[in-house]
Amino acid sequence: MKTSAALAPAASLRNDVVATANTNEEQYVTFTVGNEEYGVNILSVREIRGWTPESRLPNLPDYVRGVINLRGIIIPIFDLRARFGGGTTEVTKRHVVVVVQVGERTRGILVDAISDILSITRDQIKPPPSMETGMVEAQYLSGLFTAENRMVTLLDVARLFAVETCDDEHPAQKALTN
């Protein structure tokens, strides 16, 4: 109890410091799924690892691949392709899991490959065009960025993984999106 209370503000403080020290510049890890390129804030990425076979979880939608053992803790793996309606990924050894931390929770995202690390300032991020109302996917996007001639879709990890405990996610959400 005591430690988590003490750590939480410290962690968000650290994020703030990094953000301000780089004068508004933030780094994003980008990866590909099919022909699309996505990016997540590097501060939320804990590690990137090769694909290891998962253990399936029963009675869940297809984008929940299952769980893997990450050095003694059990984390769920989500299939980003399936999440955005592209069908389940046929995994090979070349597929990659991006392990992200949101608040107290650690999750893995299955993607095709890591492509880049980009430094992006806030004013370079363009808002996503308004999509059909009711499209759940839209709320997970925090913006669009153009790298050379590619378009990178920036994901809001906190919202992408918002589960039942919305309140818990708030501090993290703020830290990641401010």
């Binding site: 253990s55 029963p58 009675n59 939608p61 769980v67 053992n69 059990i74 999440r83 039942e164």
Partner: protein, 720 residues
């Protein structure tokens, strides 16, 4: 400063225990049940809190504890008669003491009017103390205990005022105070008058002074020797009182004139002592608490201080984090051991006989180590049960019902985490039993029952789990009313006819309450569903059995530990699962003649003269590529805690293994039919099955009228 904080924490921890001891004792105390041992224990508890509070300068606490102690002292000396009124007052005083402790801990002011009424009541009781000499003494600085002579014949008042930079020279005043205490009966008071405000406080300086009243048979010079190393930088005054009743006959002041700092060798010795002193400090404090108050009765009957000392020497206080680290390490070791075993299984048999034997031993030792470590964390449930008499007493008063509480199995041990998380559910359940279950005395008489209702609280180990029952002999669940309420609230469609058991279980639904008027005890409808959620989150289950007019029985079943379990690894399709060994009765391959279809709904199987319903795991969990024909697979006969049997159809049984329970919820969420997860020898994750959950799932799948979902986290399933 950090050290002081640590001692404060110890003080609050211990005080919490003392309060518990005092309360338990007070609750047993009544005019016709006077146990001197108990009374002494209560006195000691209060005295210890006062002593510790004084050391940290909690003046409100000390002042109040003093009044409390005065009365307890009178009770102990039989100068204050024990009446019901007195016992009530003392219980209230104990509460106030707890409140003051909480205030001291949180650094808040006690709320106005908290202590006064109780102090007045205590004073009223203390007024029955008639001996003038005695009460004079009580008004004195500490209490009668301070000045009474023990075996010793000299009383010394020692004032020790170290120089502010004492600590910089590596000296520790606690060392000296402890030395004094070892010489005889010492009453030590801390003088915090020199303490500056926080803003002006230099963390490395010492602002405290101490006054010590020492009853001892050692000589003055020996006392002076204690201060040998610090006397050149401190003020030490020693005043000797020749006898108890005389005025101080002479006083001598020794202000250090000793030669410079101690030689390095001596310093070394001193620090060595200081270190060993630190290691035993906790022991010391508690044994001091036990033995100090026993001195005034030196001429009288024998006391229990010997017992106290005996107890403290056999226990140590260990930081929970350390134990948790140990538990985690043992967990990892169990996994590693399983991994090694798995690899060695492929070795050609016979060739590596010694290696395999060694491994067998390792497995055995691992198991024993695991059990020992788990037993460190185990605690008797009695620590929770002992809080309940108080609750019952209060509730009986508020509801006007006569209630007696019977407890059994207090010594049943279970993991500390489980014990701690039992308090709330049990409190809710007992409230529920008294408020809803038991009738008022008149109604009971009319129904031909005794006036006094009984609530029975029991605990026992059963098939590797702990089973706790709360039963009452009240009116039982009023099924027609529950059904009516359920339909009114839209929890059930109108006209449905659920079974009695299903109706009983509705009281666990969120927002369900049948209390006609909302009382301040229960009836807000936050009771039983919260209980159920708490229990489920511990990996436990709750069931209710009710007989109208005769009472209800709530049965909780919880795992003994939340860390490791013995399991059977099974496979279905490409997936592996772990079944808790405690659930398994046997596994067998059915002949087709033993299989029967039951009204096209499900399959049953004849096993040992009983029809058992078959549940296909691959169907429940949607696993492709599994064995569909149960005559080709295996049926694992499993049993739930409430005795229900089920035949689980699986592909294969792979073997028995100890597994470390890992949470799915910490990074994801709870799943139906899954108790937790674990990591197998090859590093892959396997789910641990929840047999009762599977049973429930299969019933949902099979029955047309599905029961209302119980707080199922299904809404977020479209989110990641």
């Amino acid at each position: 400063m950090e050290d002081l904080q640590q001692f404060k924490q110890t003080f609050f921890d211990e005080s919490g225990e003392f309060l518990g001891v005092a309360e338990a004792g007070l609750l047993r105390l009544s005019p016709d049940n006077v146990d001197m041992e108990e009374i002494n224990a209560i006195f000691r508890a209060v005295h210890s809190i006062k002593g510790g509070g004084g050391a940290f300068g909690f003046s409100d606490l000390v002042a109040f504890a003093h009044e409390f102690e005065t009365v307890m002292d009178g009770v102990r000396n039989s100068t204050i008669p024990i009446t019901d009124d007195l016992v009530d007052t003392l219980i209230r005083a104990n509460d106030v003491l707890g409140q003051l402790l909480a205030n001291a801990r949180d650094n808040t002011k006690p709320r106005a009017g908290l202590t006064e009424p109780v102090v007045a009541a205590l004073k009223r009781n203390a007024a029955t103390l008639q001996e003038p000499d005695h009460s004079d003494e009580l008004k004195g600085t500490e209490s009668a205990t301070a000045t009474a002579p023990a075996a010793g014949n000299g009383i010394f008042s020692i004032r020790f005022r170290p120089k502010a930079d004492l600590l910089l020279s590596g000296n520790d005043p606690t060392f000296m105070l402890r030395a004094l205490k070892n010489m005889g009966e010492a009453e030590i008071e801390c003088d915090i008058g020199g303490l500056p405000t926080l803003a002006h406080l230099e963390p490395e300086l010492l602002y405290l002074g101490w006054s010590v009243t020492l009853v001892t048979d050692v000589k003055r010079s020996e006392i002076l020797d204690v201060f040998e190393f610090v006397s050149d930088e401190s003020l030490v005054e020693i005043t000797e009182h020749v006898t108890e009743f005389n005025k101080p006959s002479g006083s001598a002041t020794a202000i250090g004139k000793r030669p410079g700092p101690a030689a390095p060798l001596e310093l070394q010795e001193l620090s060595k002592n200081a270190i060993s002193g630190n290691l035993t400090v906790i022991d010391d404090i508690s044994s001091a608490a036990q033995s100090a108050p026993s001195s005034p009765r030196s001429g009288g009957k024998s006391t229990s201080s010997g017992d106290g000392a005996h107890l403290t020497s056999h226990t140590i206080r260990v930081d929970l984090d350390k134990i948790d680290r140990l538990v985690n390490m043992v967990g990892e070791m169990v996994i590693t051991q399983a991994m090694v075993a798995e690899h060695l299984r492929d070795l050609p048999p016979g060739e590596f006989q010694e290696l395999l034997e060694g491994l067998e031993q390792l497995a055995q030792h691992t198991r024993e180590l695991r059990e020992s470590v788990m037993s460190i964390r185990a605690q008797p449930v009695g620590s929770v049960f002992s809080r309940m008499p108080r609750l019952v007493r209060e509730l009986a008063g508020e509801t006007g019902k006569d209630v007696s509480l019977v407890t059994s199995g207090e010594n049943t041990e279970v993991d500390k985490t489980v014990v701690e998380n039992l308090v709330d559910p049990l409190t809710h359940m007992i409230r529920n039993s008294i408020d809803h279950g038991l009738e008022t005395p008149d109604v009971r008489m009319a129904a031909g029952k005794s006036r006094t209702g009984t609530v029975h609280l029991s605990a026992a180990h059963r098939s590797g789990r702990i089973v706790i029952e709360v039963s009452d002999d009240g009116r039982g669940i009023d099924r027609p009313r529950v059904l009516k309420k359920a339909i009114e609230r839209g929890l059930l469609p109108a006209g449905s006819t659920p079974s009695d058991e299903e109706i009983d279980n509705m009281i666990f639904l969120p927002g369900f309450s049948t209390a006609e008027k909302i009382s301040n005890i229960s009836g807000r409808g936050v009771g039983m569903d919260v209980v159920r959620r708490n229990i489920t989150s511990l990996g436990g289950r709750i069931g209710v059995y009710s007989t109208p007019g005769q009472g209800s029985r709530f049965v909780l079943s919880l795992p003994l530990t939340l860390a490791v379990l013995d399991g059977m690894v099974i496979s279905v399709g490409a997936e592996r699962f772990v079944l808790p060994l405690t659930n398994i009765v046997e596994s067998l391959r059915p002949k087709s003649s033993e299989l029967h279809g039951l009204v096209n709904k499900c399959d049953v199987m004849m096993a040992r003269g009983e029809y058992v319903r078959l549940v296909y795991l691959h169907q429940l969990f949607g696993i492709p590529g599994a064995v569909v024909d149960s005559t080709k697979g295996l049926v694992v006969l499993v049993e739930t805690e409430d005795g229900g049997r089920l035949g689980l159809v699986v592909d294969e049984v792979l073997g028995q293994q100890q597994v470390v329970i890992k949470s799915l919820e910490s990074n994801y969420r709870r799943l139906d039919g899954v108790a937790a997860a674990t990591i197998l020898g090859d590093g892959r994750v396997a789910l641990i099955l929840d047999v009762a959950g599977l049973q429930e799932m299969s019933q949902h799948a099979g029955s047309l009228v599905s029961r209302p979902q119980i707080a199922g986290p299904s809404t977020q399933s479209h989110l990641m």
